[in-house]
Symmetry: C2
Subunit: 483 residues, 2 copies
């Protein structure tokens, strides 16, 4: 049964049956846009791009092949219920919040969440208590909130309807969820985890453990990020009885297309099948590529966050995210990304220090050869030596330890004005202010500006941190609501 892919098979069977389509889509399972070059790309997949028919099932009320495919996925992940998503992890984040929260309900949320979580809070009209995460002292990057801080917040807000966490972060760093889940479950409320970047966790001995294994009640996975699904293919997993599952299902019907893409749905089924049939083997090519790089990295000036002295023992690192930086400090993250790009190695992301390189089920050993070659070449052409002192990022970035008052994220901001940062304490922020690193919003629109936040921002401004979100990226002025 694990070898089956019922959703894909239903579509392939429908295609083989060769009926004539008098239903949408308009292309009628042909690349019909009269463009020869494009037809080469689209012709095969068009055969699977059908609509809800008696033999293809219905995303919003599955009863056949999709229901079966989702049950196989739930088995694969060891959870009670899995639903396929065609709107990416975004759809899952929106739906878990909308399903769990009525307007005015309170949730505890770590500050460094994906924007879609904030959007979900906006749409739900929920009140959010924003918890500062711990900061990795080596990289300055945000992790999970400390259990003690979460405990204080739960004490202070016993009416909380749930806790929303994000793990791993974009750099593949994962904290230990289990103690956090225990604290929340003691209050009989659910933990919702955006594990978008970890759909592969737990499927190889070298991978971190998964949020589902840690006991989270809702877990969101972007199956396209490391697995073989098509982009926008994601899953929401639910377990236990602390959730309002029917409301979450109802919210999924609200935020997702009523004409879902079957090629994306079938690709989720095929990605699950690969995980179950191949297990750890599905990642062997990617890990061979990675090991080729790691074996020789010491011969270059580039280092991997999470290795050697850059390893934080309290953190588990996803090996499929290779986070490189120039230890000599000569090349910043952006320059290193650009130099890799010139050598045909296209990175996932860069910040002022790091380049994130993502591996997945489609990676091949030759990718590793090409990458290490490119790194040698960059080192040579820039004559980077290790003469310059290596600079480990220290605890430059401190976030408030306070449990703040809950805020409601508004979809539209009332009239606002820009005032000097120094005079902004006590006012209501009207924009995001996100210093990089650590990439954690210090101000959210609608949040009352604390004196401690002003002090932090003044310090970061002095250190030349990159500021995102704010209209004035030099942060001389900050935008606040008019009085």
């Amino acid at each position: 049964m694990l070898h089956r892919a019922p959703m894909f098979e239903a579509l392939a069977e429908h295609s083989r049956a060769g009926g004539r389509a008098f239903h949408v889509p308009g292309h009628k399972q042909r690349a019909s846009f009269s463009h020869e070059e494009a037809a080469v790309y689209y012709d095969s997949i068009a055969a699977l791009d059908v609509t809800e028919l008696p033999d293809t099932d219905d995303l919003h009320h599955p009863i056949g092949s999709l229901l079966e495919a989702q049950q196989l996925a739930a088995d694969c992940y060891g959870t009670d219920e899995t639903r396929f998503l065609v709107g990416g992890s975004t759809a899952g984040n929106l739906a878990m919040i909308l399903g769990q929260c009525e307007p005015g309900d309170l949730v505890i949320v770590q500050r460094n969440v994906h924007k879609s979580v904030i959007h979900g809070l906006m749409l739900a009209g929920a009140r959010a208590v924003l918890l500062s995460p711990e900061i990795d002292p080596i990289s300055g990057l945000g992790l999970l909130p400390h259990p003690e801080r979460l405990d204080r917040a739960l004490e202070q807000y016993p009416e909380a309807r749930g806790v929303i966490l994000t793990n791993p972060n974009y750099y593949g760093m994962t904290g230990d969820l289990a103690p956090l889940v225990r604290l929340v479950h003691e209050r009989s409320i659910p933990v919702m985890v955006d594990e978008a970047h970890g759909p592969h966790f737990g499927f190889h001995p070298r991978f971190p453990s998964s949020a589902l294994r840690s006991g989270a009640d809702v877990v969101i996975h972007s199956a396209h990020k490391m697995l073989s699904a098509m982009t926008m293919g994601a899953m929401i997993h639910m377990q236990g009885d602390l959730l309002d599952r029917e409301s979450i299902r109802q919210a999924l019907r609200m935020v997702q297309s009523s004409s879902p893409s079957f090629p994306i749905l079938a690709s989720l089924d095929l990605a699950r099948r690969q995980l179950q049939v191949e297990g750890a083997e599905a990642f062997s090519q990617a890990l061979r590529a990675l090991d080729t790089v790691l074996d020789k990295l010491a011969e270059t000036p580039f280092r991997n966050l999470g290795a050697g002295k850059y390893r934080n023992k309290a953190v588990a690192y996803d090996p499929l995210k290779l986070v490189l930086f120039d230890e000599t400090g000569m090349l910043d993250g952006f320059s290193l990304r650009d130099e890799l790009g010139k050598r045909g190695c296209v990175a996932e992301m860069a910040d002022s220090r790091y380049v994130v390189l993502a591996f997945g089920t489609g990676s091949i050993p030759e990718d590793g050869d090409a990458l290490i070659q490119a790194l040698f070449d960059i080192a040579g052409s820039f004559k980077i030596t290790t003469v310059r002192a290596s600079k480990v990022r220290s605890e430059e970035y401190r976030l408030s330890e306070e449990i703040p008052a809950p805020i409601v994220f508004r979809r539209k901001m009332p009239p606002s004005e820009a005032i000097p940062l120094e005079e902004s304490a006590g006012r209501i922020a009207a924009e995001w202010v996100i210093p990089y690193p650590p990439g954690i919003p210090v101000l959210f629109p609608g949040e009352e500006i604390q004196p401690s936040a002003v002090n932090q921002l003044i310090q970061w401004r002095a250190k030349g941190a990159q500021i995102q979100g704010a209209e004035d990226s030099s942060l001389c002025r900050v935008r606040v609501l008019e009085k």
Copy 2:
């Protein structure tokens, strides 16, 4: 320039450049799920399934090839601004309402809208004044609200932030939007039209005129329904200065994936190119197929809604929707759909009387040959003759002429109970009640039940109308909020 498809070309060029992918998705532009049969379908399209990269642009902040592609689409449709959607018309309907309405804002909405409009109203927390549409006396199907009724509603609710209309209906029937738009624009508020089924309107002399031509301020198109785009490919068009366009753009960022599907985006670009390059010619194959059927339909017992005595002169019919029924009444819509299916002709939709057959840019003349052959065969095997009297649906279905009080659609219903329909006047409905035909909700959850609605439902129940939405489909009892 019209011959260009900048979004597709950027992806094809990226693919040809042959860089190694150290970015998401995990399949690395290969069908990586180790399934030979599936690889045949996915391998080519995987090459275009990339992420936001410097040379591929960004759905949420387009500055390159996507911006150019959207500008070409705006030119093609003769509007000020077009945005591509990867979440279907659902995303467009949600965003236009969220962008235009703050919680508590009032909008005037025709009752027979797509569920996604109701979902948008729920998410926005808007108050909706629900207008009954006119009913086509021939088919009993819902059209647009009468201008006089809209005028009364606008008089009664001058604070309205906009008017939301759906045109055409699912059967391809379109009313005249222009007088409605004039009435609304006299009050300097915008008209938002869900024209999901009409992305081809205005591009062939035989097609109805388009909502944009009628002056609507926002128009939503499912480009996959009749054009060549992949499923979930849609567009939102905006024009004039009555809208809060920046808020609508912001709402699009909230409801759509932060990892959009580039194959869907590029297919929108290719679909636009075909419309602009080929014009009416893009539909010549589909219309040839249709004409083959229409030429011989009189020799069968089956008729086309919108032809001969079944034509309502106040309505324009989309020829790409062929709405067939058995004039003798022997086969109902469901049976006719099933019989067509057995003969390899897969229909879009059926109700108790009609079968809707959708044609599109991918239809070929042979489709028409197969369909008329199937119809002859069905007539023969059922020995359907025209002995039985043809029954034209008359004005069985009357809807309230009143302008009702505004209602707020709640995402979660408070506790409810089932009570006899006869005793329900004055209570608050806790479920949808949608008799088919006309397929127009008579009760929405949250709506106060008017005595006139109870009387209508009692009559329809007596006539054996199919009831959708209600828990008790026999409609002896209806679910209402507990007192």
